[in-house]
């Protein structure tokens, strides 16, 4: 293997990290979109988990409390699922989030046309460019999704505590809550990666000459 072109993982992480730091504020805005969407998802799921557990006890007073808090419970229901409306809102919020990320990443690619072209002139392969953008998105995704998932989980916990009273804390389904928060976290990272894919491919496919021609 004499004709070797490489970019070690450590170096890609380093470059991606530097790029984020150099555009910290913009990254923060992108990450914040993700935080909002993921925390909303996490909040809804955890709230449902808690309400579901309370309903499952079959205690009529708890059922009354749930209905007072706005849950639609029909007599005989044993489990609560997200209502179609709720699911629709969650889907929409995630969709808006992805569009926001794509938009931000496209801008970031356009801004770096020359940088990408230069890297290609220095011998970078297409997949190095994709990798750098994906790494960046993964870092933003990790930060945004973990913060969002935990934030949503904690808010749902506090909201339940406030609405149903501290006595119900023993009823909280910790395992289900953990699963919901983790799901929200994974979804967040997925969204971040989904949002960067198209911009990264555009960046990687660009011919160096075109990249150099861009006026800046």
């Amino acid at each position: 293997m004499r004709r070797l072109i490489v970019l070690p993982w450590k170096k890609s992480v380093e470059i991606a990290y530097k790029s984020i730091r150099a555009r910290f504020f913009r990254s923060l805005v992108t990450t914040l979109t993700l935080v909002l969407a993921v925390s909303f998802l996490s909040f809804s799921q955890v709230s449902i988990d808690i309400a579901d557990k309370m309903l499952a006890t079959g205690d009529p007073s708890l059922c009354q409390m749930l209905m007072r808090c706005g849950y639609d419970i029909l007599p005989g229901d044993t489990s609560l699922a997200a209502s179609p409306k709720q699911r629709w809102i969650i889907t929409l919020s995630l969709l808006v989030c992805v569009v926001g990320i794509i938009n931000a990443q496209l801008m970031s690619v356009t801004e770096r046309f020359r940088e990408i072209g230069t890297m290609k002139c220095l011998g970078a392969l297409d997949r190095f460019i994709v990798r750098l953008f994906v790494m960046e998105a993964a870092m933003q995704g990790f930060a945004g999704a973990s913060f969002g998932a935990v934030l949503g989980g904690i808010s749902a916990f506090l909201a339940a505590l406030f609405r149903f009273g501290p006595d119900t804390i023993s009823l909280f389904p910790w395992q289900a809550i953990f699963v919901s928060v983790s799901t929200a976290f994974v979804t967040g990272i997925g969204l971040s990666l989904l949002g960067v894919l198209y911009p990264a491919i555009i960046a990687a496919r660009m011919q160096p000459v075109e990249a150099m021609r861009v006026e800046q």
Binding site: R3, V6, T118
Partner: protein, 242 residues
């Protein structure tokens, strides 16, 4: 002449399709460039010299004709081999410096070495050596924005040299620099080409370049107008200055 050819261009044409009209930028160029020479491609704006330059650098593909680097037809190379060529064989210097803004001078210089698989420590060592060679000791930790134009171009020269390329392609290297800084960069390039036997090809309309060139290729309207060797040149420029 039995000297080795490093670049051979045969019958290269390049058309740009602008939708309604097709612009013929290069109309059949034949060139041979020998190893170790300092060659300037001269011509007015719009003569096609930058286009020709991009062809030689493997940055663009000709519409017709072939470009050989070290007797390899670069149109036959796949993306991977082309990247290898850009990384190891060719060092690029641009009019607009094109340093990566988020990296320090040293990191800019070591990036091509990283791509070439040089271990980090060796790359840093060589990077420092190259930076001092171009007269930038102690500035390795500076970002491009913290350096002057001339200093940025020096970093670019060091970066171009990183993998010991056989060819250095410089597209208007002095275009964005003032007179004396431009002269410094030119003499730096000349010195490097003499010391290391690197072929330097620069596209320019800067007449300061003439004094150091071994060969000047004049491009006019998409064709080679004339090729002058150094001996003829001195008479020519001497005549002009007197």
């Amino acid at each position: 002449m039995s000297e080795k050819l490093i670049v051979r261009v045969t019958g290269v044409t390049k058309d740009f399709d602008l939708g309604k009209i097709v612009v013929k930028v290069l109309k059949g160029i034949d060139l041979e460039i020998e190893t170790g020479k300092y060659v300037s491609i001269m011509g007015p704006s719009g003569s096609g010299k930058s286009t020709l330059f991009n062809m030689i650098g493997g940055l663009d593909k000709p519409t017709q004709g072939k470009v050989f680097i070290d007797e390899v037809d670069i149109a036959q190379l796949d993306a991977y081999e082309l990247a290898w060529l850009r990384c190891r064989k060719i060092g690029y210097i641009f009019q607009t410096f094109n340093l990566i803004p988020v990296m320090t001078a040293l990191e800019n210089v070591t990036l091509p070495m990283t791509f070439a698989g040089t271990p980090n420590e060796a790359a840093v060592h060589r990077g420092m050596k190259l930076l001092s060679q171009v007269g930038l000791e102690g500035r390795h930790g500076h970002k491009p924005a913290e350096l002057s134009g001339g200093q940025q171009q020096r970093v670019a020269v060091a970066r171009a040299l990183a993998n010991n390329p056989s060819i250095i392609l410089a597209d208007e290297p002095t275009g964005n620099l003032d007179l004396s800084t431009g002269e410094e960069i030119i003499s730096l390039l000349k010195q490097l080409s003499q010391e290391q036997g690197t072929t330097v090809i620069s596209a320019t309309h800067d007449f300061k370049m003439l004094n150091v060139s071994d060969q000047v290729i004049w491009i006019r309207d998409g064709r080679v107008d004339k090729i002058q060797e150094r001996a003829e040149l001195e008479i020519h420029t001497g005549g002009m200055s007197s």
